[in-house]
Subunit: 150 residues, 2 copies
Amino acid sequence: MAGMNISCAAQLSGVSAKMIRHYESAGLIPAVARTAAGYRSYTPEDVHRLAFIRRARAVGFGTPEIRQLLSLWQNRQRPARDVKRLAVEHLQQLQERIADLEAIADTLSHLISHCRGDGRPDCPILDSLAAEDPEPETRSNRARRRQASK
Amino acid sequence: MAGMNISCAAQLSGVSAKMIRHYESAGLIPAVARTAAGYRSYTPEDVHRLAFIRRARAVGFGTPEIRQLLSLWQNRQRPARDVKRLAVEHLQQLQERIADLEAIADTLSHLISHCRGDGRPDCPILDSLAAEDPEPETRSNRARRRQASK
DNA sequence: ACTTGACCCTCCCATCATGGGAAGGTTTAG
DNA sequence: CTAAACCTTCCCATGATGGGAGGGTCAAGT
């Protein structure tokens, strides 16, 4: 019945109007109904779908994964296995990113702890960045090796 | 003397030719010398600077921070304090991102552990994403609160 | 000398999620 | 009837990175 405006749908779903249009153009949500004047008109179901997307994004899923999640959600016959596999893969990616960031943070805090940080110019942080030889263990390093070993 | 080609500089510095041009247009490195034909010509110093940038990026610094690091590096009179402050701020950001990702990963692995993942369709992961009410603790949540409390 | 392959150049486009903003039409309350 | 508050589409920007097209250049082999 009462279709609502995009800004109303935005408030109810917690997704900005900007992003709602974006998701529509990205095909995450089907094109909704329009009023005579061309205004988008949302049903509560549309809003529910948008909120689903918001929550999926909040746990870090990207557009392609969300697309799959939505289709699994719609499908009453889905095997929970498929959902779980998707989630586990995503979790592994998250854990990789966390490990990468932690390695970086460790390197950095190591450097920081060796820097007196007073008014004098000598600083092991800059020294390390300027170092000729040693290539420290970094994300891009390991990513490169991962690539190479594929 | 022997200025080198961009691909040579790329190999020596570990920065792709693509990114070298990019850093130049972004102003991270001054425009280098050109041959008569317009080819960029790099000195060992240029390469050193590029490698500095690569290492700075490897510990996660972004363009603006690297800009500052480079100018501190050039400046023989810099106080180590300034370098350290930059690094500490960056480390804090890293730790925030790590905490955010860990919160997400925790939520996700919690959901996963409750999903049998067999051939049947009921799945707490989808249920949670479709949930009407409870808004789980997420990065965007806290970021929003941080914004709001500023 | 001439061809060929390996370079180099500059632009443009795409990613991913998000927002800013302009130009212009619509609706609604005063 | 007007002004505010909507709505629409389209373009641009972020940040790091790569792909590719179209076109010029250089070095080595014939």
